[in-house]
Subunit: 345 residues, 4 copies
């Protein structure tokens, strides 16, 4: 079978590099175009030294105005928020299918986007086309979509355990505390003083308060897919590790054993969702380097408890879920090219 | 002025090593005895290579049955929980003053100890003597005490911001969420597989659930010093850094600006408590290597908000507060030998 | 095609865990037996939480006296040095093929083993059977071997660049300085105080002097494969990272551009050997998570220069090369189941 | 005694922050002026959150054209290389004493500076004034100097052990290999992609070849103070830790026990130089957070051996040695305000 050619725009950031690693080893996709406007003209291997295939390492990074060949039906856009929308509009007009790893089409309306990102959305007319790509819960909508909005990392780690509990009314939706911790790769590859090694190493901090922009995404999809208005208090932290994300979810209004039964039932056949035995909690070591979401829970009182949900922010939280969605969109086995094994130690 | 001779029992753990570093550079205390039963007969400098004073490095580590000279009035016990009590009983009988860094006398009764540590307390008769050494809030009781119970690291990080708010009834005590993150030195220096570098590095995990033993300490002193029964939901995490502790405290029932005013007023003259401007949150980099507790807060809704409290678990969370208490007990300036500067980067 | 069943003995150490990850995703091998004497009776997934396949996670770890089924033709032994030899003797007698990741059969004689490991070799009669598995330079001997001695990590990183230069007489063999740095996973998974997170993090140290046991392996195979008696001064260091190994090789007696030409020619068709453009030096980020050895060099004077050679100690330095060798032994494409992409960031 | 007021220019880099920490706690110096051109107008505490003294945290950072008060006799310049020289010329003209932490006056001539830094020196006329501040070996020259050139971190770690051996002709000066490893804070606080957390963490690299600019400084002072032309092959590496520097020095032409005797004799009364017992090698944990240089050595052959020298790059390698020199210049006890204790763990 011929491999389907794909393009990656924004190829030299961390999610772009992860897309290259995964797609070049994918049996059914083939990297045919790499865009990286700020690095245009360089060889990909100069900027991403981890590339193991000399043919890919020697590909020249393209400027944003270089046309993408007609033969390429699928484009991954891993551009900064705000930079994606206009480019995507043009791609959509040309009949491409697009998997967008930015936040530009994750919301249900341009109004929410405005609140969360403090900017007018440049292409509100595309919202009706966009499908929110939380793979396990949106498969049917994903299959035929032209524009897939790949979920944010924090929302993915939260929504996978939360939505089935909302659907079954097993928790109180009025006060959901989500205390999340992210590895530093989630902050991207821009040269900023606060992301220097010595500023991150041996320290940790909360950020994004009073309301992180992912909070809108969380509440919107909790309601849409869970069927209840949820009041989510979300505090993200950055911690001194490269990859990995943990959301510690403090819940009331039910017993953790009931939550456990529901999540086991919901996800029993899902290759990338691991529900641990009741009372066990995952480490991010369970998932680092894999596309797996590992979830554990325990009651801390009669009517309250804790769920811990771990993902690799660059895989299930970004590039891995993007490829899972690409598999769905192109009719391939959903696990193709993705590992459920963590790279450990 | 002659320096007061002191002994350290359990000198070769992480808190013991930190006591050595601080006490040897303290102008009014002098290290006169180092006990470390499992390392007896070795030179201190063999086991703790960071010691900078050859005279201290050459001291021989003593077995637990080596008598402590009469000339030493103050003993720091940095022994594992459960191993302290009997030794302390004997020291107290001999008229020594004791600062105990273990949990053995942090509780108000042997009943709470039994619940939290799942063991009968060996010396319940000493409870009436013990003073809980949360320095800023217990100064008057500390001055003349013979047996000081140095607070746990997690409780210190929580109680300093919480108690004034409870006292003033500015929060709802019925559902207090404390999501804490600790550097790995808090887990001690025992050779355990789960504390190996490769098991901690690039990963994080929650532990101690459904109810960590510090949870009893937190609730007991919240009630005793804050005057309200508090329902504290506490989830600790271990993260890949050596030192540093952050408690992210999710609160309801009031506005964070009112909390800020109260904490500013309470701690305005405290050299080791830093209340950040409203809306700013501390990093553990603010306090690493210092005896400071740095506290920030922000509202996340009309009636709810987040307080972030950072300490160095080995300083304000253990050995630093122990020396602060020793200063109070011996009438020295409270900041003597302690820095409020973080070692950064 | 049916997958060939294999067994792993010593499955719960770091190299064992890496073998599981790689073999379970290998199209032609199938894990059929997991031995881990000290953890016998547990499920594999309890001890190695990174396992992504529930079927493998549920396998029960076997004691060392559990017979290995006749249907399994290939055994990977990832046991401590000294513990392998007798077990291997029995396996060989039963007609199994063995890939041994310990040092027990890496030497050309029991005399060298005695010098390096300070112990009599228990099965010297097997030495004639053993093939040293430096894949790229020993392929023809590996194909039909019954007992493969997988090379040490430090020797692999050194010998790949060194041997071609010795063969061509392009360097002075009398004073070769190898200053190596290893991630901590190379020290294994035993619970030792000096390997605790807080003892490794934010520090580094040299070890193994005056003569590390890998020094014998290096000199023996430099002579055997390079044809010259080499005087190798080897100083290994342990640094605060989990995976990755760099050997900085200080050489005299020739020009680095000549070395570069030779290494480019020797390895031009090798999928796992990357010779960087002259003057560029690799980071361990080039190889982390991959089976690649990345090599760069530069002259530092008329007649001297530096070669930097990087591998992932758990892949090309252990389990990855073991599988590369298994591919050769069973006639599979040599790269099957192995990636040349680094997992980055 | 009144404290001597001092100024720091370049106060917000890592060496500047370390100067603030040390000087504010120094009994005889007092911080009276903080310059940081790019951050002018901000409070110091905004940019350096580790400052523990509110009075210092509230000082306003000054632009480079703000006059320094006449009452300040001593200026620490922690500016980038090349930016110091002209400012220093002006300060010197105004009668100030200057301790320069840049490389601008570390060389014996503008010719060497040109070779090492590839730039014409802007103030060659000041070279005769400058004293190279390797404290232990230059005390007499330092006392009365007006312009002190604080040594580089790598040269400090090398020259302290090397010079006595050269002076006594105990090594072959023709081929000295210095393989050095530095924590990342040595690379400064500029926002550069290659210094981001994710680019440094879990990786390491060599850099600065074929000839790092500190190589000139090493050879020049080896000759000047050691009395022999030394041929030093220097390869620096950056490793994933914040602080700490190790130089592994591979030497020939003598026996390490003779080296040990000489270094013990040379440094026996030096509070900041630790010569370990023969055969023991230091970790950077011996010195992290202290002004100590810890040195160990072992023979690796009849006529060759290894010396390992460790410092904290921000203390003995920069700001600590600067204050040691300030103590000498102002007649204070040399250890004042400096610790020989490592902060560990």
């Amino acid at each position: 079978m011929n491999r389907t050619p794909v393009a990656i725009l924004g190829a030299t950031g961390y999610t772009g590099a992860e897309l290259i690693r995964l797609l070049d080893q994918h049996p059914h996709f083939e990297i045919a175009y790499l865009g990286a406007h700020s690095q245009q003209g360089k060889r990909a291997g100069e900027v991403i030294t981890s590339i193991g295939n000399p043919a890919i390492a020697n590909m020249i990074l393209q400027a944003s105005d270089t046309p993408i060949p007609d033969s390429i039906p699928l484009i991954f856009t891993a551009l900064p928020h705000g930079a994606s929308a206009n480019i995507i509009a043009s791609l959509i007009n040309n009949g491409k299918r697009v998997i967008d790893l930015s936040a530009d089409f994750r919301h249900q309306s341009s109004q929410t986007y405005l609140e969360a990102y403090q900017a007018e959305h440049p292409c509100p007319e595309l919202f009706p086309l966009a499908i929110y790509g939380l793979s396990e819960l949106q498969r049917d909508r994903i299959k035929n979509c032209q524009l897939l909005a790949n979920p944010g990392c924090y929302p993915t780690s939260l929504l996978l355990p939360l939505i089935p509990l909302l659907q079954k009314r097993l928790i109180d939706p009025n006060y959901i505390i989500v205390d999340s911790k992210s590895g530093t790769s989630g902050a991207g590859r821009s040269a900023k003083t606060n992301l220097l090694y010595c500023e991150i190493n041996e320290g940790m901090s909360a950020y994004g308060l009073p309301r992180h922009r992912h909070n809108w995404e969380m509440e919107e999809w909790a309601q849409c897919l869970g069927g209840l208005t949820a009041n989510i208090h979300f505090v993200p932290h950055i911690i001194p590790m490269t990859r990995g994300m943990m959301s510690t979810i403090h819940l009331q209004g039910g017993h953790a054993q009931a939550w456990h039964e529901t999540l086991c039932a919901t996800y029993q056949n899902e290759p990338f969702i691991q529900i641990l035995p009741y009372g066990e909690l995952p480490s991010t070591h369970h998932v680092r380097g894999s596309n797996r979401c590992s979830i554990g829970m325990i009651a801390t009182g009669e009517n309250c408890g804790v769920i811990v949900s771990c993902i690799d922010n660059l895989l299930k939280g970004a590039s891995g879920q993007a490829i899972q969605n690409a598999n769905i969109m192109f009719g391939f086995e959903e696990t193709t090219g993705l590992s459920s094994y963590a790279t450990w130690p």
